[in-house]
Symmetry: C2
Subunit: 216 residues, 2 copies
DNA sequence: AACTGTGAAAACTTTCACAGCC
DNA sequence: GGCTGTGAAAGTTTTCACAGTT
């Protein structure tokens, strides 16, 4: 039996469970039930059990889950028990904010180099990371075995950044530019888009004024 | 007939369609088909038509959609044809990056004030916006009629920021802190979480090592 | 002929509810 | 008694496929 395709929803929740489990572990709690995990992460106990069941059987009936063991299992499942080397493209404000995000390194995501096209920036150091010319992207990605790329460029430069990262051998991209990236199917891509989220809020806060079918 | 609950998926896609339509309009294109919209935004033509059908009938059979008219309709549906006044809580690196995001203001989301607790920052100006003490949050939100709050604080300060924003009368929150916010049901909340997205990439790039049932 | 709008079918996700184990 | 693991049911989203309109 091959692993059934795991949905994005499940993966997202596993991350949330893991974050909580680490807090519980730091607080000295040794055992946790699916109900408690659910209450603290905003889902249902059945959902927690179903999510975990895709990967195996981690609890003891009548008892619950051992916090430390489940933490370790989720780290292995998510692949975060290791170091990921990351290439950042774009050393502007978003890039700088990411470079200063200490949590990222603590969680195993190490930004090895920041690439930019601005000659003023190249050669400088931002938050302790060197800014390197885009021309050297392929070489540095190969040399330092960077597997994940973060795109924090202006929108018009994002597609080329993605192309270059993919060609250089990166296997996943986190995209902050508000554009849809065209990529090969074997490249994992996720996007974060502030404008989209704000528009979703705007929709939620806007009274319905759209055309409507009559009743009856 | 009341409007059926519109899913987050649909809202997200409407935003994407709108962004594309604006580009097409700027490029002088007058008519677009659901197929073209789908190809350019990465979905299916049936999905485009179904999404729009929740709000009315915007196209002409045999012809397609008038770009300018559909743009205007989507702006009205999403509620982005107006100005939204925004409160930013946290004037650190993420806050600064957001303040510098020119697109936000151009799209109608105006950050009116940035709140912080750091006495060093209060009174200064970041990207043209004044940094104000958290003590004045309620007063400023009321006075300037701020309806949306953005939380860009450290995680441990996020819940209090949310409570204060809600109490001050904000109706929606965009949360950048990696915590789950407890809020009243009538407050719209959306979260953006870099760590979660990176872990989702990590999962996608990690070969399956989880326990497995035997075949047969 | 081209393309929309939409019920019906398929696919997917969540919840239910209970057997099984501690 | 308490709690997990899991099939089955319910609910949600996407895709299909075609009648209807220009």
């Amino acid at each position: 039996m091959t692993r059934p395709r795991i949905s994005e929803f499940t993966v997202r929740r596993l991350s949330v469970y893991l974050r909580l489990l680490r807090e519980l572990e730091a607080g000295g709690q040794e055992v946790v039930s699916s109900q408690e995990l659910a209450d603290l992460t905003g889902t249902s106990s059945a959902q927690v059990r179903k999510d975990l069941s895709h990967f195996g059987s981690f609890g003891k009936r009548g008892q619950g889950y051992t916090v430390s063991a489940l933490t370790a299992s989720l780290e292995e499942i998510l692949g975060v028990g290791r170091r990921w080397n990351v290439a950042l493209v774009g050393a502007g404000r978003i890039g700088t904010a990411l470079l200063g995000y200490r949590d990222m390194a603590r969680r195993g995501f190490h930004i090895a180099a920041a690439f930019d096209t601005d000659p003023e920036k190249i050669g400088t150091t931002v938050q302790g990371v060197e800014v390197v010319s885009m021309d050297r992207l392929a070489a540095v990605v190969a040399e330092e075995q960077l597997e994940i790329g973060i795109i924090a460029t202006p929108p018009e430069a994002a597609q080329e950044a993605a192309d270059r990262l993919a060609e250089a051998g990166v296997r996943g991209i986190l995209n902050f530019a508000p554009v849809r990236l065209e990529t090969d199917g074997d490249l994992a891509v996720r996007s974060m888009d502030v404008a989209l989220e704000l528009e979703a809020l705007s929709f939620a806060l806007t009274p319905d004024r759209s055309p409507r079918r009559e009743a009856g």
